[in-house]
Symmetry: C2
Subunit: 499 residues, 2 copies
């Protein structure tokens, strides 16, 4: 057995444990009764400990060094690189720091579930200070090994290779562009506000429409399912992708677009290179690329006029509450409904125009937190100042809908937020490239035909796994590095020029 083969076997075993962990996590969110939580948490913690032990096994370093001298295919070389990346990421943070962080974030996250509804910022401060202190410690530990800047080390764990130096010019372009655009769009849309469809919308009907759209987009039901959970997500494993949504009787748009968003994630997983399924190189490239796949479906394709043309009769037929003769249920009104821009407090409810402003606000604050130029006590002021500047809204005293709204910081996920907007820009650039290669795509969407689009994504993104890095993938797929111009152009075309 070569050293590479040893690594191959070791990581395949690790992948098998990730598999059972993914099933248990999906089950926890979608199936588990409340009383199962305590033992489930314990079981997953033990499994985590065992996988962490396997991932930091010192033999990996020795095998990897020896494998460098072995004759490897290009995919094997890429796989070796990804194994080493996982190993280094897992070993450069001391085990006791990992343990203290797990404890601190678990406490802080549980407290957040109580204190957010109570709008109790003061009670959160000490817990969050603890989490931030440990995140700073992690960044210092990573930086000491890699030489990277503090915040970059955290960003890198979600988006390998991404740095603030690359991010800042792109985000600055959006900061320049979006507030003015949002004003203009809101004024424009005020002339023709959408009429709201009246429910109730039976959950089983919403589910059937959702399943129909999953089939339309190309979801393979032999390798996945749709269920319900409190927060929609895409979980499971590539051979068995589990997506979830949540339903309300009052409206169908959020649940349907949730299904389509998660289907975008799922199509990426289902399209990963099957031959490398159990190996690191066979996994999805990064958080931003994953988000781009959901946003290509949700934002680029399925809020387009073309797709609304296809969707409208399905909605008219799918809901008992629909009145196909009423102006509410006409294509034009539904398009207005699906592309409405609004100023709001809550990131997860934001439309694609205002969403990046929510992200940039968080990015700027969390970067200062990690770099030590801002303390936890100063978050509300920093938050309110930016909400006023970017979105013209005041969150003074309203922590619940302000800096307490997201689980990310209590959960210790610093460096994650930027990937949402990187994903949106990536989606726009990939979608534009797909349409350049295959100009028929929009007309096909109007017929509910996703085969060309999906084929292009399969070839340029899904099937690549982690073979290429982000820069190379974008270069090959779109002919250029990531730019904000495609995203800006998309927003202008949809929200200002279209009529």
């Amino acid at each position: 057995m070569t050293s590479y083969d040893q690594l191959h076997t070791h990581f395949a075993r690790l992948n098998d444990l990730y598999h059972v962990g993914a099933v248990a996590q999906w089950d926890e969110a979608a199936m588990m009764p409340i009383g199962g939580g305590e033992t489930r948490g314990q079981a997953l913690a033990t499994l985590d400990g065992i996988t962490h032990g396997m991932l930091t096994d010192s033999r990996i370093g020795a095998w990897a060094a020896a494998a460098q001298g072995e004759s490897l295919s290009t995919w094997q070389q890429a796989n070796l690189r990804e194994m080493q990346r996982s190993y280094h990421n897992a070993t450069c943070v001391p085990a006791d720091l990992v343990e203290r962080s797990t404890l601190a974030t678990s406490r802080c996250e549980q407290a957040w579930r109580q204190y957010r509804p109570e709008n109790n910022w003061q009670a959160m401060v000490p817990l969050l200070e603890n989490v931030v202190a440990l995140a700073r410690e992690e960044a210092r530990a990573r930086s000491a090994v890699t030489g990277m800047a503090l915040y970059d080390t955290l960003l890198d764990s979600y988006e390998p290779g991404m740095t603030c130096a690359q991010l800042d010019p792109l985000f600055n372009e959006l900061k320049e562009f979006l507030p003015g655009l949002l004003d203009e769009v809101i004024e424009r849309q005020a002339q023709h506000p959408p009429l709201l469809p009246e429910g109730p919308f039976a959950i089983e009907e919403q589910r059937q429409v959702g399943l129909e759209m999953m089939r339309t987009l190309g979801f393979n039901f032999e390798h996945g399912r749709l269920d319900v959970s409190h927060h929609p997500f895409c979980g499971g494993v590539p051979s068995d992708v589990r997506i979830t949504t949540r339903y309300s009787n009052d409206g169908f748009v959020a649940s349907l677009m949730g299904v389509i968003h998660e289907t975008g994630h799922a199509l990426y997983e289902q399209g990963l290179p099957a031959a490398w399924q159990a190996q690191p190189v066979g996994q999805a490239l990064s958080t931003a690329v994953h988000e781009s796949q959901s946003l290509i479906m949700e934002m680029q394709a399925c809020r387009s006029r073309e797709f609304l043309h296809f969707l409208t009769p399905h909605l008219q037929r799918g809901f008992t509450a629909a009145q196909p003769q009423s102006p509410v249920w006409q294509e034009e009104n539904l398009y207005r409904l699906f592309t409405r821009a609004q100023r709001g407090f809550i990131r997860v409810d934001a439309d694609e125009v205002s969403y990046p402003l929510h992200v940039i606000l968080r990015y700027e604050i969390e970067r200062e937190l990690i770099e030590g130029t801002l303390e936890v006590a100063g978050i509300p002021e920093a938050w309110d100042m930016r909400m006023q500047a970017y979105l013209g809204l005041s969150t003074a005293g309203n922590y619940r809908d302000g800096c307490l709204q997201d689980v990310h910081w209590p959960a210790g996920l610093f460096g994650y937020f930027p990937t949402y907007t990187l994903g949106a820009m990536t989606a726009a650039q990939l979608f534009a490239a797909a349409k350049r290669t295959a100009p028929a795509v929009p007309a096909q969407l109007a017929e509910g035909n996703f085969s060309t689009l999906l084929g292009w994504l399969r070839e340029h993104v899904h099937g690549q796994g982690k073979f290429l890095d982000y820069t190379a993938l974008m270069q090959r797929a779109t002919g250029e590095a990531l730019k904000s111009s495609h995203f800006r152009g998309h927003l202008r075309a949809r929200y200002l020029e279209d009529d």
Copy 2:
């Protein structure tokens, strides 16, 4: 840390891995789409390998030896005994034999899924010969360590301490008694055959009636769920018990009694001693005792006249197809329907009168197979001879409904069959004891009140875990060793004396 504490921690970690394995297995049967099967099988095999490695860790032997000298409570002593039992059971079979058996049974089981519907016995012979050869090898390996008789070593792994010497007199009493009883019962019932309720019975209605009966019996839905699978089972973990059933639109009796049977299993799991949940002593005592808990609910309690009195209005209200005025839907007719005895080929469809004959037939054949006095090629003849003798039916040439009907032998489960009938006898003896202690139980069942019965089982069986061995448990709970007379008395009372 004492050696006992080391063991405690080690087995708690092992239990955490069993937990995620149990979730993944439940998911495979109840949720997984077909295309997830291959990677799931691989993932579970890796998890099995890791748990097997932990269970055969040589430190266990050393810790256990040292723990003998430590000051332990009686429960800790019992826990130590059960840890040692698990360790010895796992280590007395060589690892390569375990691996060869896993491979052979997995192949044979897959072939069985194809060849049973095809009635193709000849194709099964070589595969089954391989499985039997390995089972004999396992029995020899166990016997070499324990000194036990060959078949006893296999029986012992499902029913610790049980031997053929104890089993044979009990089974002989049933063999004497049941064929004649069955003749008599069938003749008696022919005078008043039950009228068959006509469907279709909507699956959602069946599900609701099933959930209602689960609540009635005392199932705790904060710690469990009801779902659907091809074969009904009780899985999950004690803090989160997952039971399943299957539905047909044509009838509701099988699915409802499936739910009640699995609820009996589930109540045992939910009643295991919570303080010992993660330890060997906190697990269910044995396969037969588990079966006794399902049969107390399904056979003893829920096919009684008293319970049918309670159930009848629920059925009348629960099904759109029910005609409450019709004689079909009266208590007396439903009782006849729920207690109908018939001669049939298929074990899993058998009533409680004929079921033990199916079991004894299998026990006699598999014992000869393991002892080497019968070869695989001789199974059909041995089967047919006993079917004629015990049930008066010929299975000549009909392998599908004869010796190919069960998955147990292809799956290598030799020594399992007797536990079904041990469970039926145990159930009758425990139920009789419960009624002696609490004569109000039958009247309570007529009101759908299971609290006294469940309380008695919680105290005498569920809450004991593996603290007592089978003999001691039966002695304390019923005042005597296992006898066949309670079961025989129950059948006589229900099927001959009642009117």
